[in-house]
């Protein structure tokens, strides 16, 4: 069984004199760019997905070879899903990878790819669109079932510790995110857009699962932000889902989170105004859930452009002054750079062509063009219907100073179908016309695209809103994938392709890297399979 590994771990604990034997010391999460573990969805709290590891370099990356593969087989068909995709970024802690599919958690030996355990949940509803993975605290894992259950598992055994209901699937909430552990809090966001329900983010106790606080995306009557809604009823329609993990600055003790689109999604008559705090980046105190500041990337959104994309944190010097920055490539096509102490805007610039906005206001927030809201006869957008990007993780390399995003160029028509006095639900649809996926390297100082790579394809039209995530390393490498099943390594400075590997499915998660037994590994999830690479696979 697993005894040799556990003996080794016990020995390690003894040697280090730790008082409690636990797999993941929560303090490890505070480490910037850890190399011997991948302890959280983004690898660390900054959301940069940048690794200081340099064993794999531009000069030797062409020698990357498969160490092992693991196919996540599910024992029965997944409701409404033909081909399950690993969208989770596995955690790698003490030689074990923990990752998920909707309704499933897997623990796999990181050295061999052997399955240690598999946990299956039988849902009573909820959307199986994806699952982003688990959160970890000590020996405990946290997993969101699609029907609103937060489940804590014992990491060594995969046995359930407890389950807590955090959202009602019959109200059409669904839950997909990787719970995020900050201090003594598990942070959990929710999804939903079939029925109009309010979004919220909550914190729970890692030991017991008890609720610590809940922050609602919509203000209450009289609260700041309520002036951006016509009335209480409109606010209660809600929206502003919190479905992707955020980032955290331990020095400022601020949690940064993106919120989704307001409801009704496309039928916006009845919710005139900016609709705060939907489609925004919000900074919250993780201990109280109190809002500290907000920047709204998509005021009065009518296009389903959730503003949940990772708020990436880094420090840099601007105009001779050191600044604490936050950058986001938003689904609405804008690249934003903010001062993360106060949310003040430094830069707002489209990274793809778009015509839905008339520019930005004094605070750097885009001004929507009412004529480009969904209409009965179709409004023409010079941007992809799914947006300029989506949830797939971007990356920032402090080495190159570039922000990398898998973007989509495109054109679309947006139609309104719900013309009733009281719209509810989605209320319309989008018609994609043509789109092209492009990897972009954006200079955060100017918002200019320093280099880009349009993925070559047979037909020039590529559908889909989901896509490959990005990892960068201190060795000037960028790992991602195209939409034709190729995993690709680029030179991060100039976009030259250095290596590729044809997988059975396109990259469906954010790739990750870590050191194990002195060997640097690269892990990529593509479809239902994990691919693990290193330079010289060590086989006895």
């Amino acid at each position: 069984m697993k005894s040799p590994r556990f003996m080794f771990l016990s020995l390690l604990v003894l040697l280090h004199g730790a008082s409690v034997a636990q797999l993941l010391d929560p303090h490890k999460l505070l480490e910037a760019e850890p190399t011997d573990t991948w302890p959280t969805y983004n690898g660390d709290y900054s959301g940069r997905r940048f690794s200081p590891l340099t064993q794999i370099q531009t000069s030797n990356v062409s020698g990357l070879a498969l160490a092992w593969m693991y196919r996540a087989r599910v024992p029965r068909p997944m409701r409404g899903i033909t081909n399950p995709e690993i969208k989770s970024t596995p955690l790698m802690v003490k030689g074990v990878l923990y990752f998920t599919l909707p309704d499933h958690v897997f623990a796999v030996d990181a050295r061999t790819g052997h399955e240690l355990w598999h946990y299956e949940w039988f849902d009573q509803g909820g959307h199986l669109v994806g699952n982003r993975g688990v959160g970890m605290y000590g020996d405990w894992l946290y997993f969101m079932a699609p029907d609103g259950w937060c489940i804590s598992l014992d990491a060594p055994t995969g046995k359930e510790r407890w389950r807590k209901k955090v959202a009602d699937e019959k109200m059409q909430y669904f839950t997909t995110m990787a719970p995020m552990v900050v201090g003594h809090h598990i942070l959990i966001g929710v999804g939903g857009d079939a029925i109009d329900v309010p979004g919220y983010l909550e914190a729970r106790d890692p030991e017991t699962g008890e609720l610590q606080w809940r922050w609602y995306t919509e203000p209450r009557k009289g609260d700041p932000g309520s002036e951006t809604w016509p009335n209480q009823a409109a606010m209660e329609h809600g929206g502003g889902m919190t479905w992707l993990p955020g980032t955290y600055d331990k020095d400022l003790n601020l949690l940064y989170w993106g919120t989704g689109n307001p409801n009704p999604v496309m039928g916006s008559h009845g919710r005139e105004g900016a609709n705060l705090w939907t489609c925004a980046i919000v900074a919250l105190n993780p201990d109280t859930g109190k809002l500290v500041w907000a920047f709204q990337g998509s005021p009065h959104d009518t296009h389903d452009w959730d503003n949940v994309e990772t708020p990436v944190l880094f420090d840099a010097t601007i105009d001779g002054k050191p600044r604490k920055l936050l950058a986001q490539a938003a689904r609405n096509g804008y690249f934003f750079v903010l001062d993360r102490r106060n949310g003040n805007n430094i830069l707002s610039k489209p990274f793809v062509p778009l015509n839905w906005s008339k520019g930005v206001d004094a605070s750097g927030q885009p001004i929507p063009d009412q004529r480009k809201e969904p209409s009965v006869d179709g409004s023409y957008l010079t941007i992809n219907w799914g947006g300029g990007t989506n949830w797939m993780p971007p990356s920032f390399s402090p080495r190159t100073g570039l922000f990398y995003v898998n973007a989509t160029l495109g054109y679309s028509l947006v139609y309104l179908t719900d013309t009733s006095e009281r719209p509810e639900g989605y209320g319309g649809f989008g018609q994609p016309l043509w789109s092209q996926h492009v990897l972009e390297a954006i200079d955060y100082r100017t918002g200019n695209v320093k280099w880009s790579h349009a993925y070559t394809t047979a037909d020039g039209t590529q559908g889909g809103n989901s896509g490959p995530g990005i990892l960068t390393t201190a060795a000037n490498l960028l790992f991602t994938g195209d939409y034709n099943g190729n995993l690709i390594a680029f030179n991060a400075t100039n976009g030259d392709i250095l290596w590729h590997f044809p997988a059975l499915h396109s990259l469906s998660n954010g790739p990750e890297t870590y050191l194990l037994d002195g060997q640097q590994y690269l892990v990529a999830g593509a479809g239902d399979t994990l691919y693990v690479f290193c330079l010289v696979p060590r086989r006895p």
Binding site: V376, S420, F429, Q431, L433
Partner: protein
Amino acid sequence: MHISTRSVLVTILVMAIANAPGQSQSHGSDENGSASRQKQEGERALRTREFLGLGRQPDVQLAGDGEKIYGPTCGFCHGTDARGAQGPDLLRSPVVLDDDHGELMGPVIQNGRPDKGMPAFSSLSEAQLRALAEFLHMQVELTANRGTYQVRNILTGNAKAGETYFKGEGKCYTCHSVTGDLAHIGSKLTPVDLQAVELYPEARSYDFGGRHPTRQVTVTLADGTKLSGSLKHLDDFYVSLEDDQGQYHSITITKGVKAVVDDKLAFHREMLAHYTDNQIHDLTAYLVTLK
């Protein structure tokens, strides 16, 4: 939502039930008729509800019975579409959403909520309560299941202006003919599909993948040799094709290897950057007249 729309949507659901999902779809040109379209929409509705995890599918007949009771009994307070008026919006009511077959809604309707000003409807029979509950489940379905949404009348444009655009600024005439390739296009396609393909002929319907016509490719190898045929695969690394003899070729793209795909849609893509909403709506209004 007006009754007429609802009737259309109910039809879609009836079609959804009549046509089990997974049945093969024919792609013949004669399949653009309304029956085929309704069948596809029915399948779309079923697939969407399965994907969203919407639970039990409401019974169309029973909901229809319930509608007759709902109007005079409940509509005044809760709105004809149950989205609220004086009384609350029922689509987001936990009593409705947590209910399965009227077991939660029934007692509330029968006993009323005197504290909140809702009268008791004690004279309704069990069967009537059951039907009423089903009507409300159908209202939820028609909102939550976006696979049931119906395009409205999109024809707002000016056909005459569209014709002028077709023959002038739009440059459509340079490749297309209203008596040739576009003859009877207004009978073959619905306005919303027409509006998509007039802008980009390979635009897909909004949720299901379309077919891709074969394209011709010419690959020039490093030594100057040329291979031509129908394109099978192309990415940053490989190109493959089938030549006139049916022979398959797979070529690694290295320095000096060039793959040129015969691209008939380049002009369409160029035009995409220039359209205005009015031009699009006018053009659609014109093309639908080509019956």
